[in-house]
Amino acid sequence: MAFDVAAYLAALGHRGPAAPTLATLRALHHRHLRTFAYDSALNAGRGTALWAGVDIDRDAAFDEIVLGGRGGVCYELNGLFRLLLHELGFDVGVFGAGIRQMDGGFGPDLEHVFNHARLDGDLYLVDVGFVGPSYLEPLRVTEQVQEQHGSRFRVVPVDGYHVVERSGRSGVWQAVYRYRDRPRDLAEWQAPSPELEAFARALAGAGILVRGRSTATGQRVLIGKRLLTVDDGRETVRVLTDPAEHERVVADITGAPAATGGTR
């Protein structure tokens, strides 16, 4: 089936009008994160050419993800959502980000594909293709602290980048990712980049799968066997060493869209 706004909104469980307002954007953003899982397993067959498909085939992706219910990676989920927002009349564009790595540094600038939207003179970050923990609703670009579901966010300028920072109930501010305040053209990802290639090689070598899905009040992030659950800003970590439980949780996260309200 070809890309279809009404079917998309229905899949998201959105009822009523969808005028290009902040309220609509908020609702759709959160619902998108809850409806469609992030699933890096889909990268497994892509070798180091992780970004070859950044410019998605809208109809195929729509079919597989929105209707088929499989998860997706950043440019698929954000690509579909960007198309939807555009159709609804939002002023949207693409950003590229480097995600905070485990050692505290950042990945390459184009590692992560996400969106922005301009509304009433404000710039919002729009990202439904990131495993998290991150923002569940669009984030206004400002240094002021914005609270969402128990977590706090701010966007601070550092060394020519904008850094999205998050703090849970524990109170520690940590970077989520950094981006340059420059709308990107999807063609930028097709230029050869040794930096991106090396990064992709390391990722592929690791073979560690990343999956996640949001809930009404937080997110579940399963990296390898480590399950991070954020709920109302509180983070708990469990390591699923029991293969049966691991399988159950994977199924739970990547399975058909969860009923609203979460599964716990």
Partner: protein
């Protein structure tokens, strides 16, 4: 009225009089028993964490003010404005704040981090400060469970988490108790199990002094026997500054200029202060230190004064006079007053006039009342101020010095100082001996009108200390912590404390540690003969390094205790000789056993123990005597058996210790039976031990057609056989050829075989007339393989004990199944402990020997006792150290983390810094890996991973991660996960992903992964 009736009436009156006299005596007795301060502890501004710190600050005339705290979520950017009329702002920028008021050791008190976060920091502070106060009195804080100890706590702030817009879901259910004022005192009682009165007092700034007054009354009334009294004030929100800014009540520079002409308002401060109070007679009897005496106290109210919050001079005079009356003193009997002195231009003059009108009167020339206030140093610590003032007075008494009160440009001109003899302590003065006990009053006045005055008196001279007994040659120094880190920190604290005090008596330290500190989960014992050895052991503990003088462990063993008596084979020439010289308990028990043997033998025990121990009729009785005496020594340390078990001849000692056989009967059995063996069995056979399962050995023995029999089954793969000497030689040779571990036991007879039948009748004859009794302690028979009615321990049993196989493995399993968990092998050398530990498997059980071959002194005994103690056994050192003097010791090394609900400050990392990398030049830990067999490679890799993983977390090497510990559940976070990846990558040369530990979740999984990865790559190569 007839004469008769008059006589009856007079008699009744006399009886009444007697009753009244007795009642009066009782009242006088308790009322006359002064209340002693036996310890004090505090946290106050300026980083003050102890009364000593407080004195240093006061004596050096320093201040404790600081800028507003940045770790409480206060909007410091918007809080300050010079304009006192600007709403929501403070014109003061400094205060007497507690440094890191959110710091707390939740693990020590068994409180989850979640609940700790929901707890008012005032509750947390009072837990820690109360713990310290008890420790400073030499009382193990965990020892008061069920005691009549009271808690009286002044609290006035109830604003923690008050600004929370909504209660975070996982804190629901905690915040109610977490922020309740009553729980500040109640939680201390609950956590320590105290059952005396527990109450929270809120009379605002007089709260802690009123609490002390109530506690002293409760002690005098006999309502409790010990009382924690004090107060706490933490400002969770800046509201007090904002509120008083509008009233212009704060000194712009934050300083309380008590009683000075320059006084321009008060300065808010915080604090926690706790006094431990006890009736003086009890304190003396219990050997607690007496720091000072609460001589008298009083509380009253301003009543309908000029205004709800206005101080009332006449009421202040009355409360001072009431306290003097309660103390039975006149104004001239008191030398100084620690004034309320908040630095307000109106309040201070009223207080000074009241002092002039009371203490200022009727004083001889040159003996004015000296006046000062701690608030000039720290600011006004509000609900903690009065108790802090008492601590200042106690320290002043100890040092014989009245410290200066600060910021007095000139005595306030609003006071008519000529009205009486009251002088300000504008400089420090000697507190000269007034020819009677030194005394000082302490005042606190609450904003709601409740006034309190307490008179503190110098402690009476202590009784001359008794001359302590000779200390033991080696002493156990026990330290513990709720966590491994706390244990290390505690050892470090104690080491530096002892190092700084060369005059400290080691036995006093050991005794004070044993009696005055809680035994927490992570334990260590240093067995030291002197100070240097103790210091070396403590420093090794602090560094997490092994030391021959130290034993460490986690007290995870819960269950009953078995004394295990080995049979022959534990003996060695010289056993018990050294211990007899070092332990009077052991020496006495040994002598008694020797005496019991004497009628039956032609040698003396003392000579026999020195060797050569080459005759069965010497070896067995001598071993028996040593084992019985060791059991008595264990009992003296509180290791009393809940059951006994013996191996072969060990059953004789077991029967005696259980109470089934008298020492005389037991000595007879062991002496006469060993003589029968020597006469009838010696030279005819032999015995051998084989490291194989019993069924495999039994099958093998068939070939010799009964000439060799199974004599004992000690464990899973530990069997003893006995039989004809030539057959045995063949068997040993065959096993040796097959590489089986087999060892000939150096005896020339075959116990537990058919050989024994030759002396059956003789044994029945010589052992006739034994009088076995029912035993108080259950006896598990390794002869019968079951619990035994000990009245059956007659001659026939002792024959069967020698004839039948020893079923020690059956006994071990039965005892473990019945819940016995502590196994103490009362032997000269451990021969069974390892079998028991092996049988216990993963069950939390501990098996320890007593002495060792060549190590037969008190040191080895104490190290064995320590091995039990650190695992949780009820070893009590106090008997060993009875009569030794007590000394002050460092208090608990709290492992602080920051908990604050409204703050954005990161939680404090408690991870100790990783050890510096001193192994840079060392060869690769995995060198030679490729040459090993696969299971050895895995083992090596696993050890390597566990060691590295522990090092990254800063754990001591003695506590590596277990193979199944989950990295992210034992403290790993992203950064440390990368660090471990880096270490492993460097050592193996493998390219490993940063997220390695996300998939390889445990050391075992990681080791398996490395094994696979290295299978295709040699170590150290790309």
């Amino acid at each position: 009225m007839t004469d008769d009736r008059i006589v009856r009436a007079l008699r009744a009156a006399l009886v009444d009089n007697e009753r009244l006299r007795q009642e009066n005596d009782r009242l006088k007795r308790t009322a006359g028993d002064p209340v002693a301060v036996v310890a004090a502890a505090c946290r106050l501004p300026g980083g003050i964490a102890s009364p000593e710190d407080l004195w240093d600050l006061v004596a050096e005339e320093r201040e404790g003010l600081s800028p507003f705290p940045a770790d409480r979520g206060w909007d410091l950017g918007a809080l300050f404005a010079a304009d006192p009329d600007r709403p929501g702002t403070s014109y003061v920028t400094r205060g007497g704040f507690l440094q890191d008021a959110g710091a707390f050791d939740a693990a020590l008190f068994g409180i989850s981090p979640r609940e700790a976060l929901a707890m008012d920091p005032q509750q947390r502070l009072m837990l820690e400060v109360s713990w310290e106060a008890l420790e400073r009195a030499g009382i193990a804080p965990t020892s008061l469970r069920g005691e009549r100890a009271g808690v009286f706590t002044g609290v006035m702030y109830h604003d923690y988490a008050a600004g929370l817009a909504e209660v975070p879901a996982d804190l629901e259910g905690f915040l109610g108790t977490g922020t309740s004022g009553s729980v500040v005192s109640g939680r201390v009682s609950y956590t320590l199990g105290l059952e005396g009165p527990s109450l929270t007092v809120d009379t605002a700034c007089s709260s802690s002094l009123v609490a002390v007054h109530l506690a002293a009354r409760a002690l005098r009334d006999g309502e409790c026997d010990l009382a924690l009294a004090g107060g706490v004030a933490v400002m969770a929100r800046p509201a007090p500054f904002v509120e008083f800014s509008r009233q212009r009540g704060l000194a712009p520079d934050g300083r309380c200029k008590a009683f000075a002409d320059a006084a321009d308002g008060t300065g808010w401060a915080e604090g926690a202060a706790v006094l431990l109070l006890e009736r003086l007679s009890d304190a003396r009897r219990n050997g607690h230190p007496v720091l000072a005496v609460v001589r008298g106290s009083a509380v009253n109210q301003d009543g309908a004064s000029n205004g709800l919050t206005a101080p009332n001079g006449p009421s202040q005079q009355r409360v001072i006079r009431a306290a003097l009356d309660a103390a039975g003193l006149a104004p001239v009997d008191v030398d100084a007053v620690e004034g309320h002195g908040t630095g307000t231009p109106l309040g201070d003059p009223i207080e000074a006039q009241a002092l002039l009108a009371t203490y200022g009167r009727d004083r001889p020339a040159g003996r004015p009342l000296w006046l000062g206030s701690l608030k000039s140093n720290l600011g006004h610590a509000q609900a903690a101020a009065g108790a802090a003032g008492i601590i200042k007075v106690i320290e002043a008494l100890r040092h014989g010095t009245l410290p200066a009160t600060l910021h007095v440009d000139a005595p306030s001109t609003r006071v008519d100082w000529a009205d009486g003899a009251v002088r300000l302590l504008t400089r420090q003065r000697d507190w000269a001996d007034p020819g009677r006990p030194r005394r000082a009053g302490v005042s606190s006045f609450g904003v709601s009108g409740t006034n309190a005055h307490v008179i503190i008196e110098e402690a009476p001279a202590p009784d001359a200390p008794a001359i302590p007994p000779e200390p033991p040659a080696v002493q156990p120094w026990e330290v513990s912590g709720a966590t491994a880190d706390a244990l290390r920190a505690q050892a470090a604290r104690l080491a530096s404390f002892v190092a700084d005090r060369p005059g400290l008596e080691p036995a006093a330290v050991a005794a004070s540690l044993a009696a005055g500190r809680a035994a927490l989960a992570h334990r260590a014992v240093v067995a030291a003969a002197d100070r240097d050895e103790a210091l070396a052991g403590l420093r090794a503990l602090a560094a997490g390094e092994p030391s021959p003088a130290a034993v460490t462990g986690v007290a995870d063993v819960e269950g009953r205790t078995v004394l295990v008596f080995p049979g022959q084979g534990a003996q060695w020439a010289g056993m018990g000789v050294e211990l007899a010289a070092e332990s009077t308990v052991f020496a006495a028990a040994l002598a008694e056993a020797g005496e019991a043997l004497r009628p039956h033998v032609d040698w003396t025990l003392a000579d026999a123990l020195r060797g050569p121990l080459d005759r069965v009729d010497v070896v067995q009785p001598a071993t028996f005597a040593v084992h019985v005496a060791l059991a008595r020594l264990w009992e003296s340390l509180g290791v009393v058996p809940d059951a006994v078990v013996g191996h072969s001849q060990g059953e004789i000692a077991a029967a005696h210790i259980a109470g089934a056989l008298s020492l005389e009967d037991a000595a007879r059995v062991v002496a006469l039976r060993s003589q029968a063996i020597a006469r009838g069995l010696a030279g005819r056979g032999g015995m051998a031990s084989i490291a194989l399962p019993a069924d495999r050995v039994t099958a093998r023995l068939a070939r010799w057609g009964g000439r060799i029999e199974t004599a004992a089954v000690n464990g899973r793969a530990s069997v003893v056989v006995a039989g004809d000497a030539d057959a045995l030689t063949e068997l040993i040779g065959a096993y040796e050829d097959e590489g089986v571990r087999v060892r000939r036991i150096p005896v020339d007879y075959a116990s537990h075989s058919s050989h024994v039948e030759a002396i059956r009748d003789e044994l029945h004859t010589v052992l006739a007339g034994l009088a076995p009794k029912p035993s108080a302690v259950p006896f598990y028979s390794t002869t019968e393989g079951e619990w035994l009615d000990t009245t059956r321990l007659g001659a026939a049993y002792w024959y069967r004990n020698l004839r039948g196989a020893v079923r020690f493995d059956t006994a071990t399993r039965a005892l473990l199944d019945a819940g016995f968990r502590t196994f103490v092998e009362a032997g000269a050398h451990p021969v069974l402990a390892a079998e028991i530990q092996d049988a216990a498997g993963a069950t939390a059980a501990v098996a320890a020997g007593t002495l060792r071959r060549g190590e037969g002194g008190l040191r080895r005994f104490l190290l064995s006792a320590a091995a039990l103690r650190v695992r949780g056994a009820a070893v009590d050192w106090t008997a060993l150290l009875a009569g030794q003097p007590r000394t002050d010791l460092p208090t608990y090394a709290f492992q602080h983390r920051h908990y604050w609900l409204e703050t954005s400050a990161p939680a404090a990392a408690v991870r100790p810094p990783a050890e510096p990398d001193t192994e840079a030049e060392a060869p690769s830990p995995l060198a030679g890996l490729a040459d090993l067999a696969e299971d050895e490679r895995r083992e090596t890799l696993l050890e390597f991973v566990r060691r590295e993983a522990s090092a990254v977390l800063g754990r001591p090497p003695a506590e590596p991660l277990t193979p199944t510990d989950v990295f992210f559940e034992v403290g790993y976070v992203s950064l440390t996960a990368v660090e471990l990846r880096d270490r492993i990558a460097a050592a193996t040369g493998l390219e490993l992903p940063a997220m390695l530990l996300f998939d390889r979740a445990t050391p075992a999984e990681l080791a398996d992964h490395l094994l696979t990865e290295l299978g295709t790559t040699a170590p150290g190569q790309e």
